[in-house]
């Protein structure tokens, strides 16, 4: 609601600015090169009189993943022609295609509901950079009302190094006194770290194999046990296998 109010205020401010600009341009109209008499590039009297036209539509971008076989063939051709830069690009595109497919397969394997929350398919995301820095990330959101459960899978990512530091550093072991905001737990036999923050809720991080990590985030979950019960509904072994981890 606040967002809508803000948008309305911005639109009103823009309209006021447009009117002032129109008045100013109308006074100097004879000195400009074109588009000052109400028939600018966008056409008709509804378009802006002084600036670029506003976009009214387009086909967007092609969202199909790169064709893996096609790109491998391009890489082979470029390599034989000693064009290493093009070969590299083609291999990166092929890797991108494969990673996106891995991501889509994992999303398909996830349950439709978790802890009574339904998946929000519009927020399903698979991201790949085509190289090993940030690697492959997959996200699925389950939501009902103000309760939300988010699952993020990060493969070939540097994130898991931070979590492994938690698990191997005794300084991050459970404390006996004071507010406990993080601790080590186990989920389906995997060592993990659970954190809690009053503003962001629960976060459970599970390193998988050598280069992957699973992160569960729970907003408005009543207790740690509720959060763990939700996370236990995910087939962690299946995800690990899909990522090729041991």
């Amino acid at each position: 609601m606040l967002k809508k109010l803000k948008e309305k205020a911005e639109n009103a401010a823009n309209k006021a600015l447009d009117k002032k600009a129109d008045d100013a341009v109308g006074n100097n109209g004879n000195n400009n090169n074109g588009g000052t008499n109400g028939s600018g590039p966008s056409g008709g009297n509804n378009g802006p009189k002084y600036g670029k036209p506003s976009n009214k539509g387009g086909a967007g971008l092609v969202s199909a993943p790169p064709d893996v076989n096609e790109n491998l063939a391009s890489a082979e051709t470029a390599f034989k022609g000693n064009n290493l830069s093009d070969a590299r690009y083609a291999v990166q595109q092929a890797m991108l295609g494969v990673e996106l497919q891995i991501g889509q397969n994992i999303l398909k394997s996830l349950p439709a509901t978790i802890a009574g929350l339904k998946k929000d398919s519009m927020q399903d995301q698979v991201t790949s950079t085509g190289w090993g820095w940030a690697g492959l990330t997959i996200q699925r959101v389950y939501v009902q009302g103000d309760k939300q459960f988010t699952l993020t899978v990060a493969n070939n990512s540097m994130w898991m190094q931070a979590i492994n530091m938690y698990l191997t550093n005794s300084g991050y072991a459970q404390n006996t006194g004071g507010q406990q905001n993080w601790k080590q737990v186990k989920i389906k036999g995997y060592r993990a770290v659970i954190e809690y923050n009053d503003n962001t809720g629960y976060k459970l991080s599970v390193p998988l194999g050598q280069s992957s990590i699973l992160i569960f985030e729970g907003i408005n979950f009543a207790s740690e046990q509720d959060m763990m019960n939700a996370a236990n509904q995910v087939d962690i072994d299946g995800i690990k296998k899909s990522l090729g981890e041991k």
Binding site: L72, L84, W131, G132, G244
Partner: protein
């Protein structure tokens, strides 16, 4: 002369082996993909990228000058290594004397395909940022913008380091004991546009 011949032969052999490795990995990638083993296919492609980066590194070494200022290349120190996609491929060359270790050798490092390079590019694109650090200035090397930094030497004598970013590759030149003018003169012997074409 004989030494150069054997070093070239060794280098050529490595290049041939790498080419075969690339073809082998390509075949593995195709076979695994066709069998639905996506992770194996991806692993093979990562190996292919690694091979390409090593081959590119060796091609870059061939482009570099044999002499810089008054120093000859220390061929035994040439190196191409790294982990593509994580910290990039490191190409290293030195120019200096014949001793096993030469503290005054000119050192040239090129990190290619590294995601860590973005910060230098950001510094170079700031119109006002340079004024706040008196030890840094933007210079041009063969038409490319670079960052020249003053660093402390071993006897508190100022030394200079030049960093030239090319999208996601970075050329770093260090010349211990040399002046600003010397390091710029050395940098201008680099075929930057040819290196850019190979590493982009």
């Amino acid at each position: 002369m004989k030494k150069i011949y054997f070093v070239s032969l060794a280098l050529f052999s490595v290049v041939m082996v790498s080419a075969q490795d690339f073809t082998k990995r390509l075949s593995e990638a195709r076979t695994s993909y066709a069998a639905g083993k996506l992770d194996d296919s991806r692993f093979a492609m990562q190996q292919m990228l690694q091979e390409l980066d090593i081959l590119t590194g060796k091609e870059v070494l061939k482009l570099l000058p044999q002499k810089m200022l008054d120093q000859s290349v220390r061929a035994g120190q040439d190196n191409v290594s790294g982990a593509s996609g994580f910290v990039g491929v490191l190409i290293h060359r030195e120019y200096g004397g014949k001793a096993a270790y030469d503290s005054t050798a000119i050192q040239l490092d090129i990190i290619s395909n590294s995601p860590l390079i973005g910060t230098i590019n950001a510094l170079l694109s700031l119109p006002f940022g340079m004024g706040s650090n008196p030890d840094q200035k933007i210079v041009k090397v063969n038409g490319y913008k670079a960052l020249l930094s003053k660093t402390s030497g071993s006897n508190d004598k100022p030394e200079f380091e030049l960093q030239l970013p090319l999208n996601n590759s970075l050329i770093t030149l260090k010349a211990p004991g040399r002046s600003q003018d010397d390091i710029l003169k050395a940098a201008n012997t680099l075929p930057v546009s040819d290196i850019a074409k190979l590493t982009q």
